[in-house]
Point group: C2
């Protein structure tokens, strides 16, 4: 599952109709980029129209012209349009899952969008529109994993009764947890340990109720 498309740091986060006035496109992009920046630094509280206008150099009136409701701007700021990373499944399930998780771990460690995520979740908690954007974004993030697992089931690398959705949560969850909840680092080798543990578990799953053989040492 080698990555076949790097994420570009294009400064054109919006797909804009080519019929659009270039001035409009430029303003929009500047504003969105600035908004994202402020959201990262100060969170929702700091992302006022006035602050965005001041830092971006785009006049307040222009911002209102393009986003009648400031919430629409926030939504656009969240709805990235990064180039999608394509994963091509190899025949090595473990390596593919590790690759996918490593990309995720990287994203979570960088400041591309991780510092923005908490604000996104906060907004999602109480607003359906944000919930929608956030959900779609997160589904994209985890798609490579789910996809590879699905393929794995089809190829009989995994048991036919494997619940792909739940296993994907077991793989992605711990990474998010450490970044956002416990605020610990994701140590070197964690991704591999995680994949090995979950994968071994899926392949040899058993219910270990009752006292265990104390076989260690």
């Amino acid at each position: 599952m080698r990555s076949s498309a790097g994420s570009s740091s294009s400064s054109l986060p919006l797909r804009s109709p080519s019929s659009e006035d270039p001035r409009v496109t430029r303003s929009k992009c500047t504003v969105i980029e600035t908004t994202r920046q402020i959201l990262k630094e100060k969170g929702f509280g700091g992302a006022t129209i006035e602050a965005i206008s001041a830092r971006s150099g785009v006049a307040k009136t222009t911002i209102y012209r393009h986003w009648p409701d400031p919430n629409l701007l926030m939504l656009d700021a969240f709805a990235f349009n990064r180039d999608r990373i394509l994963f091509v499944p190899t025949d090595d399930l473990r390596a593919d899952l590790c690759d996918g998780l490593r990309v995720l771990a990287n994203d979570l460690s960088s400041d591309e969008w991780a510092p923005l995520a908490p604000a996104m979740f906060e907004a999602s908690e109480r607003d359906a529109a944000f919930r929608k954007v956030s959900k779609r974004f997160m589904e994209e993030k985890r798609h490579p994993l789910s996809h590879r697992l699905t393929v794995g089931v089809e190829r009989n690398e995994l048991p036919p009764d494997t619940n792909v959705d739940l296993i994907a949560s077991m793989l992605a969850g711990p990474l998010f947890y450490r970044r956002l909840v416990s605020r610990q680092t994701i140590p070197k080798g964690f991704v591999e340990l995680l994949v090995d543990t979950v994968l071994s578990g899926v392949l040899t799953r058993q219910t270990l109720a009752g006292p265990l053989n104390k076989r260690f040492r």
Copy 2:
């Protein structure tokens, strides 16, 4: 690991010195409870002193009297003082872990503090004081798991090289993930599947690189 103390829904979230004027105690409790309520409903944006005063019936001046800085109030609102749940390890590791995770899953499904969590993470992202409170709180939440795992290693139920911290992340992470990130439910049986998978993985851990035997069906 049966739970030996239920969580009380006491309306006295603060430990207050017994020497304190009962009126002070009452005001403080009312304000904190109201603040928590508003934070759940409207998030940080809605938690203004005026709103808290209006809904709680406690005068603005009184609030400022007790919390010179509104941020201190927010911190107090986050720093619950619920009765600690005590887990007593049994000799059934699996059952103990399931118990611990079920409590967590319950908390995450209820509206005791789960709706508040996103606001907490948002605040933690940019403020050290919130980070501290949040971290302590989360450590408490996960303590039963870590503790039981540590005991498990001591009792030779688990391999001696088990990294308790990382395994705890693998157990708690997926639950948080589904509640906060992917916003999916935690389906019945997930906790058990999770414990069985991770535990099996830990006990039989192996590196499954390369093509797998396609042994299914």
